[in-house]
Amino acid sequence: MIEALRSAMDVSLERDPSVIVFGEDVGYFGGVFRCTAGLQAKYGEARVFDTPINESAIVGLAVGMAAEGMKPCVEVQFADYVFPAYDQITQEAARLRHRSNQQFTCPLVVRMPTGGGIFGGQTHSQSPEALFTHVAGLKVVIPSTPYDAKGLLVAAIEDPDPVIFLEPKRIYNGPFYGDHAGTSVNWSSHPAGEVPEEHYTVPLGKAAVTRSGSDVTVLTYGTMVYVAEAAVKAAGLDAEIIDLRTLLPLDLETIRASVEKTGRCVVVHEATRTSGFGAELIAEVQEACFWHLKAPVLRVAGWDAPYPHAQEWDYFPSAERIARALSKVMED
C-alpha cells in the first residue's frame, strides 16, 4: 500500500504543478513509513519538503496555500498526532468554502497512518475517524487495498474540498486477518495488491462490497475488512462484507440495499466504541432499514480505554469477537 500511496502522489505531482507535498520527515528522508520516498529527489524541494514538528502549522499553511489555489497533500506522521491541527482542520479548512460563500476554497488532503496492531501503544495506534465524521465540510476516506489507496488518494487530491485520508498502517505491507501470531502476508499475493502505474481514480463516497452474502451485513473499513473476512470464514456464515472506503459522505444506498437483503448487521471498527463511527452507521441503518431488521445491530469495536501496549491483542477487535457478534446476531 505504501508504493500505491507514493504512486498516487507521484502521478498527482506530475500532472498538476499546484500539487505540493509536505510534512514531518517527508522530504529528504521520504517519510517514516517511506510513503514519500524519492519524491523530493524527483520533484525538488519546492514541491516536497520537510516541516517543523507542528501539525497545526502544517495544516494552517496548507489552508493558506489551498485558499490561494494550490493543492497541498500533507502528512501527519501518525493519526495520534493530528490533534494540534484539529482546530485548523475543523474550524478552518472544513468551513472556509461555506463561510466565504465560495470566495475561498480549501482543496487539501491530510494523510495520516491510523489504527493499531503494530504494538505502538496509545500514541501510535489510535483511530480518530469519528472525530472528523462529525465535522460538516470534511470528507473522510480510509482505503483497505493498495488499488483503492492509490485511486482514492488521487481522487482526494483532485477533490475541491478538504479530505482526511486515513491510512490503516497495519495493512501497509499486506492484508491482516487478525492472526497476529501467524506469518504475515504480502500484498503481492492479493488481487487488489496490484496497482497500475498510471493515473486513475476511485471515486469518493462509494462503498465496495468485498464479499457478497445473504445472512448478515458487516459494515467495516480499513484493516478490519480483513479481520471481518476471517471472522466470517470462522463463523461459517454467508455474510456480506461492505468496505465503506469513504465514511463521509457515506454511501448509504449500498448499505441499505445490503441490510434490506440480509436483515442483520454487524458494525466493526478499531476505534473506541462509544461515539465511534459505528454509532452513526447503526443510527442510519436502523432508520433506513428498521422494518427489515431481524435483530439489533451489534458493534464490535475497540474497548473504551486508551489503546494498551502489552494487551494489544486483547484490545484489538479480534476475528473471534466479530464471529461471536455474527453468531449472536444470527440467533434472533
Binding site: N54, A57, G60, Q91, R99
Partner: protein
C-alpha cells in the same frame, strides 16, 4: 518560608483609578532611522523596542522616516484622512444601528483607523490580507463597496456571504481581504501559507497577517512566526497592540516580553514597532515592510502600538475594567486629529473643511445605510433563503445534505 510567589500582570489603572501611561516611553519622532531592507533580526533590537514616529505633537513630520516617505501630495493626505473619517462614520452609524437592534452585533476600530487605512493604501493588486475582526479599515481603504460592507452587517441579500457569518466577519477576495474567522489566531499561519504559495508561483504578490495583542498568545501566532522564519515567504505579519483583549490587559499576553516585536526577534524575524496612531508613520513603515517582502528579503513583523478607544464590541462595557477616560489620556492621541493637525499645518486643510468632510461622509454612509436597510435588518429581517445553509458546505452537495435540505422543505 518559600521565596517563590507567582506574578500576575496588572494594567496601570483600573476603573477606580486615574489613567496612567507614565510608564510608556515616548521618544521623539526621528529617533530611529530607516534600516536597510535586508536588515537581519539581530540588528533589529532598537526598532523592536523603540517606536517609529513621524508626526510630532505639533503635527510636524520629521526624521528619516518622513524623508523615506518623500513628499506626499495633498491629495494623498486627504485620501488618508477621508479613509479614516469614512471608517469612523461607518463605525459610529453601525454601532448605533446595533444599539437600535437593527443588527445582532457590531465592533468598532475607533482609534486604530490609521493602521488599516494606511497599510492598505500601500498594498498592491492581488496582495492578500488575513485580517481579524478589527481591520474593517482595510476594506474601507480598499474602496470596498459600502453596500457589501453594510449588507454583511445586516445579513440581508446584499451580504456577499448570504447571511452565513456573524456581522463583521467579512470576506472580500477581490479586495484582498481573506475570510475572517471567529477563532482567534488561525489566520496568521494561513497568511504564511498563502505567501508561500505566492513565492512558489513567483507572482510577486505578498500576504499580510493581522493579529491582536491578546491573540499573539495563540498557538497560531507561534506557528506563523516559526514557519515564516523557516521558509522566508513574502509576508508582513502585523500585530495590533491596542493595550486590551476584551477585559484583559495586554501585559497578560506580553508577560515579560519587552514588546511583541521583541518576541518576534527571538524567531529570527526582523521586527519593528510603530506608533499606530500616526498615519504618516503607518504609511512609511508599511511601504518599507511591503517593499521588503516583495523584494525577497523574507518576513517581517510590525507591532502597531495603539489604543482600543471603543468597547471591545457591542457586547462589552469597558467601564467595568479600565480607567475612565483612558482613551483620552493615550499619549499618542487620536489618528484623525493628528493627521488633521498635520494637514492644517501644511496649509492643506482647515477646520471648516474637516467639519464639512465629516458631515459629507456621515451623510454618504447614512444614505447607503438607508438603502441597505431596505433590504432587511435584524428587526425587519429579509434573510436570504434558508437553503443557503446547505450550499457551499461542499462543492457538490452530497446526498445526506440533499435529504436534509428536503427535510427542511427546500
Amino acid at each position: 518560608m518559600s521565596k517563590v510567589t507567582l506574578s500576575y500582570p496588572h494594567p496601570p489603572a483600573r476603573p477606580d483609578q486615574a489613567p496612567d501611561f507614565s510608564r510608556i516611553d515616548r521618544s521623539a519622532p526621528g529617533a530611529l532611522d530607516v534600516p536597510p531592507l535586508d536588515i537581519t533580526a539581530q540588528d533589529c533590537w532598537p526598532y523592536a523596542v523603540g517606536l517609529i514616529r513621524v508626526l510630532d505633537d505639533d503635527g510636524q513630520a520629521a526624521g528619516p522616516w518622513a524623508d523615506y516617505l518623500g513628499d506626499l501630495t495633498a491629495d494623498r493626505l486627504k485620501q488618508g484622512l477621508r479613509d479614516m473619517l469614512r471608517m469612523r462614520a461607518v463605525d459610529q452609524r453601525m454601532q448605533n444601528a446595533q444599539r437600535q437592534g437593527k443588527t445582532s452585533f457590531y465592533l468598532q476600530c475607533t482609534g486604530e483607523e490609521a493602521i488599516g487605512c494606511g497599510f492598505q493604501r500601500q498594498l498592491g493588486e492581488g496582495d492578500m490580507n488575513f485580517p481579524t475582526y478589527r481591520q474593517q479599515s482595510l476594506l474601507i481603504a480598499a474602496d470596498y463597496p459600502l453596500e457589501s460592507l453594510l449588507g454583511q452587517l445586516y445579513s440581508n441579500d446584499l451580504d456577499p456571504l448570504q447571511g452565513r457569518q456573524l456581522p463583521i466577519m467579512h470576506s472580500a477576495r477581490d479586495y484582498g481581504f481573506f475570510s475572517i474567522s471567529g477563532n482567534l489566531g488561525t489566520q496568521y499561519v494561513q497568511a504564511v501559507g498563502w505567501a508561500m504559495a505566492c513565492a512558489l508561483r513567483g507572482n510577486d504578490k505578498i500576504a499580510a497577517g493581522w493579529i491582536g495583542d491578546g491573540a499573539t498568545a495563540s498557538n497560531d501566532f507561534h506557528s506563523a512566526l516559526l514557519s515564516a522564519s523557516v521558509y522566508q515567504p513574502p509576508v508582513v505579519l502585523n500585530v495590533v497592540n491596542n493595550q486590551w483583549a476584551i477585559s484583559t490587559y495586554t501585559g497578560v499576553a506580553a508577560g515579560r516580553s519587552q514588546t511583541y516585536a521583541a518576541r518576534a526577534l527571538g524567531y529570527g524575524i526582523p521586527a519593528i514597532r510603530v506608533d499606530g496612531n500616526d498615519y504618516l508613520a503607518v504609511l512609511a513603515v508599511s511601504k518599507w515592510a511591503i517593499e521588503r517582502a516583495r523584494g525577497g528579503h523574507g518576513p517581517v513583523i510590525i507591532e502597531w502600538f495603539t489604543y482600543r478607544a471603543a468597547a471591545h464590541s457591542t457586547s462589552d462595557d469597558p467601564s467595568a475594567y479600565r480607567a475612565k477616560d483612558e482613551a483620552a489620556a493615550w499619549p499618542f492621541g487620536d489618528p484623525v486629529e493628528r493627521l488633521k493637525a498635520h494637514m492644517i499645518l501644511r496649509g492643506d486643510w482647515t477646520e471648516d473643511r474637516h467639519e464639512q468632510t465629516w458631515a459629507e461622509l456621515l451623510a454618504e454612509v447614512a444614505e447607503v445605510q438607508k438603502r441597505v436597510e431596505a433590504h432587511g435588518t435584524f428587526v425587519n429581517p429579509k434573510p436570504v433563503s434558508p437553503a443557503a445553509i446547505f450550499t457551499g458546505v461542499y462543492a457538490d452537495m452530497p446526498e445526506h445534505l440533499r435529504r436534509q435540505r428536503q427535510e427542511m422543505g427546500y
